[in-house]
């Protein structure tokens, strides 16, 4: 097959590309330019679009003897990922830009361009497995064998068409094995640190970044009784379940720690409460994406609401929303703390990813 190997300049995508070459595919390395103003040198473990990263990817492609190009998807990334991220926070929600990027950029803009140019598929260095069913030929997305590196959560937005055009050559390996293989292959990136957090917020200070984008909007922090217990610089920058960074002047009367229970951007108010009032049993999801066949009715599944969060048992109820779109309700067996609207709930059946939805609302019971 003719395959585009997306190469970030990191060790994972380097080994992924190498394995695609070794498997006999006709591989072209492509580095995505996603930043409007790329820095020359890497400054932190975050960010992945500096010229240095591009050069690292190019050197790996040289060693593999494959062509290498840089594709400029910065404008698409800005509109579909960065601006969406800002808009979601401005509405008091907590988005996951990595899912968005996989859905709209890597397996949409990049994939579409690759297909149009005559390629058959895109390979990335994600830790996840694609299993082709012997009976139907359908593609299933599964968790990686390396549980600590598993990235199936951020891929839970991919549908059958996208999975049919995707390769994840690292799904059966551990990170340790991948680094060792990179060293064996003589890749200079073998010891390059992993990237973390949000690539377009290079210093990792999401709240500071949001404040620069949305402006300071001072307001008050209320407790569950409606009493003012503190102040904030903009309710939009808070996330349900958050405890750090509240800077409450006095501890609660009962001395228990307090967490963000509600972010109300209309009133510019943050409401805090003790942990036991944050429990969520019922999740309403929108923007539902099924990796394969949609469940026809209530189904016992595992639910995960954060990239590295635990998977909890529950029941998923596929529904039609008022406007006729596919919606989803998930009822957890036990309450879960810190579920924020805007996050994605990804559903699992064993190791298989069934689908995902964006959390619209949560309910305690």
């Amino acid at each position: 097959m003719r395959v585009v190997a997306a190469m970030s300049g990191g060790v994972d995508s380097a080994v992924s590309a190498a394995r695609m070459v070794e498997a006999g595919h006709e591989v072209v390395g492509v580095h995505l330019a996603l930043s409007q103003q790329a820095s020359v040198l890497r400054e932190s473990a975050r960010g992945c679009c500096t010229l240095e990263d591009s050069a690292d990817a190019r050197r790996v492609a040289d060693r593999l003897g494959i062509p290498f190009y840089v594709w400029d998807l910065a404008e698409r990334f800005r509109v579909e990922v960065v601006e969406d991220f800002v808009a979601e926070y401005a509405q008091g929600r907590t988005p996951n830009p990595c899912l968005r990027c996989n859905e709209r950029i890597k397996f949409h803009a990049l994939l579409d361009k690759a297909l149009a140019l005559g390629f058959d598929a895109v390979a990335t260095g994600h830790y996840a497995r694609i299993v082709t069913r012997g009976d139907t030929g359908a593609r299933e997305l599964h968790r990686a064998v390396d549980a600590a590196k598993d990235q199936s959560y951020v891929l839970g937005v991919l549908d059958q068409d996208q999975l049919a055009r995707a390769f994840f050559p690292l799904g059966d390996s551990t990170k340790t094995q991948v680094r060792a293989e990179a060293a064996e292959r003589g890749f200079a990136v073998a010891k390059k640190p992993d990237s973390h957090d949000i690539c377009f917020i290079a210093d990792g200070d999401t709240r500071g970044w949001l404040t620069r984008r949305l402006g300071a909007q001072p307001g008050v922090i209320l407790d569950e009784e409606g009493d003012v217990v503190g102040e904030h610089g903009g309710a939009y920058a808070f996330t349900v379940g958050q405890r750090k960074g509240l800077h409450l002047p006095r501890p609660a009367a009962d001395g228990r720690p307090r967490y963000v229970r509600e972010v109300d951007v209309e009133r510019n108010v943050v409401v805090v409460a003790p942990a036991d009032l944050l429990g969520v049993r019922r999740i309403d999801g929108e923007h539902v994406r099924w990796c394969g066949e949609a469940p026809s009715g209530p189904t016992r599944l595992g639910a995960q609401v954060r990239a590295h969060g635990a998977e909890l048992p529950g029941t998923a109820y596929p529904r039609l929303s008022a406007d006729g779109r596919c919606a989803l309700e998930v009822v957890l067996d036990e309450p879960l703390r810190g579920v924020a609207p805007g996050q994605s709930v990804v559903l699992y059946d064993g190791t298989r990813v069934v689908g995902s939805a964006t959390i619209r609302a949560t309910h305690p019971d």
Binding site: V28, A33, A38, S54, P67, A109, D112, K113, A116, L117
Partner: protein
């Protein structure tokens, strides 16, 4: 073998030039040393200077050897600006065409940002021509403030040739010196420094069959230039650094040969270029020719330059698809981080950003053949078709 159609980026070194350089490379001798070996090296340098000067209608004492076109452009603009401003503090303005190479453009912008220099960008018409009347008007507005005029001899993207002599005459009417970046012109157009009247002229080695990393700035004897690089005082104390005997030899031999072959070679290239452009238009793909083009003409447009605007495409997709088909060409514009940017030249010519993204430049040179042109034209339709489909994906309309 891939078909190489990017001679404006760099062109193969002539075999006899490479051989002469290889022979010289094994000889010891610093051209500034006083002993026999040093004198031998110096003799090579001075013979090369005379050879180069003779080929372009300059005097040997006007030739300052540099590391290439970029350095020559920077030296000319920064050096003359600083010298003229030192002599007369009012002279802080540069008149520069909007279609210059980045070696001029970015140097001028840096001076603007860091030294408070004023810049007047001279516009061009839809064919990329900078009209002398435009320069005359800008000069007349405030001649005492102008330090230097700089307009390139021939454009590297669309191949448009300027009336450099007329522009220089305009500048001289106000006693203002004129620089021209002739990197694309030397060896390809009849370049005679004395006849053109220019005061400073940039040339480079690797666009004419000489080595990369070589070039010269021709500086008239009465033009003061503040150096960029200080040291041993070589090259009229304008450009210090041990003379690159091997590179200077290669540069001079390449320019001499290219100039000697020019008339015959450009006649041949014009035939190939016209076949390429006509062939591309005949494909009925909505392709337009960028710049000024009259079939058979080797003086208004560079003989080896074929520039195409392919609507609905991104040049980098075309570039990839042609590369995959064994055809090496360019979008013509500068890259940032490996990504071609919409060309400032095409924007200055009045194209929209979207049109400018569909630029494709094929440039012919001394190794090009009719078979290369045929291969390009054979590969182009499929590439355009696919690139148009891909454009939907990247631009978000698909």
């Amino acid at each position: 073998m891939p078909v190489y159609l990017d001679h404006a980026a760099t062109t193969p070194v002539f075999p006899h030039v490479a051989a002469a350089m290889a022979e010289q490379a094994t000889r010891v001798g610093n051209a500034s040393s006083l002993h026999t070996a040093g004198r031998a090296a110096r003799r090579i340098v001075e013979e090369s200077r005379e050879r180069l000067a003779a080929a372009i209608g300059a005097r040997p004492s006007e030739v300052v050897f540099t590391s290439g076109g970029t350095e020559s452009d920077n030296l000319a603009i920064s050096g003359v600006l600083r010298a003229r401003r030192d002599a007369d503090p009012r002279r802080t303005r540069l008149l520069v065409s909007a279609i210059e190479h980045h070696a001029v453009l970015d140097c001028v912008e840096a001076l603007e940002a860091r030294e408070g220099v004023q810049v007047t960008w001279l516009p061009c018409d839809a064919e990329g021509v900078v009209h002398p009347e435009v320069l005359a008007r800008e000069l007349a507005a405030d001649p005492e403030s102008v330090a230097l005029v700089s307009v390139m001899w021939a454009n590297n993207e669309v191949g448009t040739v300027q009336d450099v002599a007329a522009l220089a005459a305009m500048a001289h009417e106000h006693g203002i010196p004129m620089h021209t970046d002739a990197v694309q012109a030397v060896g390809h157009l009849p370049v005679d420094v004395a006849a053109s009247g220019v005061d400073l002229l940039t040339l480079g080695g690797h666009k004419v069959g000489g080595p990369v990393g070589t070039g010269a700035l021709v500086v008239k004897r009465d033009v003061a230039v503040v150096p960029l690089v200080y040291g041993g005082g070589q090259e009229r104390q304008i450009r210090s650094g041990t003379l690159d005997t091997v590179g200077i030899l290669g540069l001079s031999l390449a320019v001499e040969y290219a100039v000697a072959q020019r008339e015959r070679e450009t006649a041949r290239l014009v035939g190939l270029r016209d076949a390429l452009l006509k062939g591309a238009l005949d494909l009925d793909l909505g392709i337009r020719v960028g710049g000024r083009w009259t079939p058979g003409d080797a003086l208004g447009r560079l003989a080896g330059n074929a520039h195409l605007i392919v609507p609905g495409c991104e040049g980098d997709s075309l570039l990839y698809l042609l590369d995959a088909a064994g055809i090496e060409c360019s979008t013509g514009s500068a890259c940032q981080a490996g990504v071609p940017q919409p060309s400032h030249v095409l924007l200055a010519m009045g194209l929209t950003e979207r049109e400018a993204r569909g630029a494709l430049r094929a440039t012919l040179g001394h190794t090009s053949t009719a078979a290369d042109v045929e291969a390009f034209l054979a590969a182009l339709p499929a590439a355009v078709d696919r690139a148009r489909r891909a454009a939907g994906a990247t631009l978000g309309s698909g």
